[in-house]
């Protein structure tokens, strides 16, 4: 009898513990799936959800705050997604927050990323529809980067040949460029550019090989926009520079004679200086990207680094704009016009 009682107790304990494990698991999973709170439902409309699925996570500033509850087509072929957000966290999602779709982990599934809105904005409410940001396609960016780096290579090689000539102090040219700082600047810029070019090539190759990794890098669309713009500008400036240097190279003698406008020289000086500093920064960046193996992780995880990258690219942008302007000025200047006239006459 006593033995039987003992058995009943043991069985009772066994069953209780087993059920406790089960209930705990249900609770833990349920908490994750937001089944026990009352979730706040918000929605967003995308042109392309890039393989997002029901149950995928919704993140705000990297913290999981909800799940995607449904996906459906609207009659204009766009995709309407509904998200369940945790009640406690929904305060931090403002009405002007934007959503975009990113991916998670190396082989990870897609996540909906909510970009924080203004700090003192009104929090979203049930059934709100958030604005979306469609990402720039990574392939377009890569194409731009590739073009730019090719141009830079050409420019830099031509710059080298110019500076060589300058250094040798060929004829009149040498006399005009008596200011050694300018030459020095130009020289530095040239080296930097060629260095960047190499790195950019490396980088773009890596990007081509591992699209997923860099996907993270360009998760922030503002940043990618900047990069896109920067590379477009780079393209333009390098094209211009190439034109100038072509011309300079072709007519050394004539050029030398006409090169008397000091304001132009000044412009060129400033431009080269700017170019030097920007390329220096770029070099640093490219260096980090290529040589520091953890740089990519840093890019993904460290917001400070991402921020500084953004600032850097903005600065680069500005530098490039300046350089473009300077180059334009060079082209516009009477000097070159005269030179072109002369050329025509020769023809």
């Amino acid at each position: 009898m006593k033995k039987k009682l003992q058995r009943s107790i043991l069985v009772g304990i066994f069953v209780t513990l087993g059920l406790a494990i089960f209930i705990a698991a249900i609770y833990l999973v349920g908490k994750k799936e937001n089944l026990f709170g009352s979730p706040v439902r918000v929605s967003a409309i995308f042109n392309d959800v890039k393989g997002l699925r029901e149950g995928n996570k919704v993140r705000l500033s990297g913290i999981d705050i909800g799940t995607v509850s449904s996906l459906s087509f609207m009659n204009d072929n766009r995709v309407f997604i509904q998200m369940n957000l945790e009640e406690e966290q929904v305060l931090y999602v403002k009405k002007d927050s934007k959503v975009t779709i990113g991916s998670e982990g190396l082989m990870g599934s897609k996540v909906v990323m909510i970009l924080p809105g203004t700090i003192d904005g009104i929090p979203v409410q049930e059934y709100d529809t958030l604005q979306t940001v469609e990402q720039v396609d990574i392939d377009d960016i890569l194409e731009e980067v590739n073009k730019s780096s090719q141009n830079i290579a050409v420019v830099s090689s031509e710059l080298i040949s110019i500076t060589r000539k300058i250094n040798r102090g060929d004829g009149v040219f040498g006399k005009i460029f008596t200011d050694t700082t300018l030459t020095q600047n130009l020289d530095d810029a040239t080296r930097n550019i060629s260095y960047i070019t190499e790195n950019l090539y490396d980088l773009s190759e890596k990007v081509n090989a591992g699209e997923g990794i860099v996907g993270k890098l360009f998760a922030d669309t503002t940043l990618t926009g900047d990069i896109g713009k920067a590379s477009a500008n780079m393209d333009e400036i390098t094209n211009n520079l190439r034109e100038i240097t072509d011309k300079i190279n072709q007519g050394q003698g004539i050029f030398g004679r006409m090169f008397t406008d000091t304001s132009l020289t000044n412009n060129l000086y400033v431009t080269s200086k700017n170019l030097q500093s920007t390329t220096g920064s770029l070099m640093l960046l490219a260096d980090k990207m290529n040589n520091d193996s953890s740089a990519l992780n840093l890019l993904i995880d460290d917001p400070t680094f991402a921020d500084s990258l953004e600032i850097l690219i903005q600065r680069l942008n500005r530098g490039i704009v300046e350089a473009t302007e300077a180059a334009d000025a060079v082209q516009r200047s009477g000097l070159i016009r005269a030179f072109s006239k002369k050329k025509k006459e020769e023809k």
């Binding site: 039987k4 058995r7 009943s8 043991l10 069985v11 066994f14 069953v15 513990l17 087993g18 059920l19 494990i21 089960f22 698991a25 249900i26 833990l28 999973v29 349920g30 994750k32 799936e33 089944l35 149950g55 982990g105 190396l106 082989m107």
Partner: protein, 258 residues
């Protein structure tokens, strides 16, 4: 009714067994609702099938978690996806490895026990004795055992899953300095109800059929002491096979339903 050649793979016998087990199943359901439930024997069987299997399942579970973790770790590390390890191991244990491996162990320990016990009761005429004293041996012996295995196996699997989870943690902790909290949140990061419920329902069926088949093999075993061994053997072989059949059906059903 008596199974003639329980061990020979015989097509005729196979069909007879399928028919027999089906009859047994309906008899179980009928008896469950019609007759007085043998509560004390049920508790006793719960004790023997559940509680007494806990150690075996527990040790296996810890080793399972440990081994899976240690074996998968280098592969995931090569891919740079070591962070997915807890998740991968836990999901595979939760949905497939746990239920099937623990059910097979259960079939080996409890199924053979039931087969041998009922068979020896048949051989020594104990079942006949119950029958002629107007007590319902099916109700007393089979219903209690099948009910016990049906309820105990899912519980054992819960214990096993939990211990495999700890085993996996220990395995990972040996190689990297991961905190329990991080391990836990990674392990649970991709676990959903659609993983837990089908697996649990599956184990209920595993438990039910292990009990049913083992009881059937024992209840209708051949005469003589060799019948006992054969019944135990047939109980394990048939229920192991059925575990995989149920698993196959379950995976297809889950696939359709989710």
């Amino acid at each position: 009714m008596e199974r003639k050649s329980p061990n020979k793979l015989n097509f005729e016998q196979l069909l007879m067994d399928i028919a027999g087990i089906t009859t047994f199943l309906f008899r179980y359901i009928g008896s469950l609702f019609r007759n007085r439930f043998e509560g004390r024997e049920f508790i006793n069987q719960c004790y023997r099938t559940g509680y007494q299997s806990l150690l075996l399942v527990g040790i296996t579970a810890i080793i399972l978690g440990l081994v899976l973790t240690i074996q998968i770790r280098p592969i995931l590390a090569d891919l740079g996806a070591e962070a997915w390890l807890p998740n991968m191991v836990f999901i595979s244990v939760l949905t497939e490895m746990g239920p099937v491996i623990f059910a097979l162990l259960f079939a080996g320990k409890v199924g053979s026990g039931i087969g041998a016990e009922l068979s020896s009761m048949r051989v020594t005429e104990q079942i006949d004795a119950m029958e002629v004293s107007a007590t319902n041996p099916f109700n007393y012996l089979v219903v209690t055992r099948v009910s016990a295995t049906t309820i105990m196996l899912p519980l054992l699997v819960f214990f096993g899953d939990l211990l495999a989870f700890f085993g996996s943690f220990i395995g990972l902790k040996a190689y990297s300095d991961i905190s329990f909290k991080l391990f836990y949140s990674r392990a649970f990061s991709e676990v959903y109800f659609r993983d837990i419920f089908p697996a649990t329902i599956k184990t209920i069926f595993f438990g039910f059929f292990i009990g049913l088949i083992a009881s059937y093999m024992g209840y209708y075993s051949g005469k003589g002491t060799s019948g006992v061994g054969k019944a135990a053997n047939a109980a394990v072989v048939a229920s192991s096979l059925v575990i995989f059949l149920i698993d196959l059906i379950a995976v297809q059903l889950t696939d359709i339903l989710t």
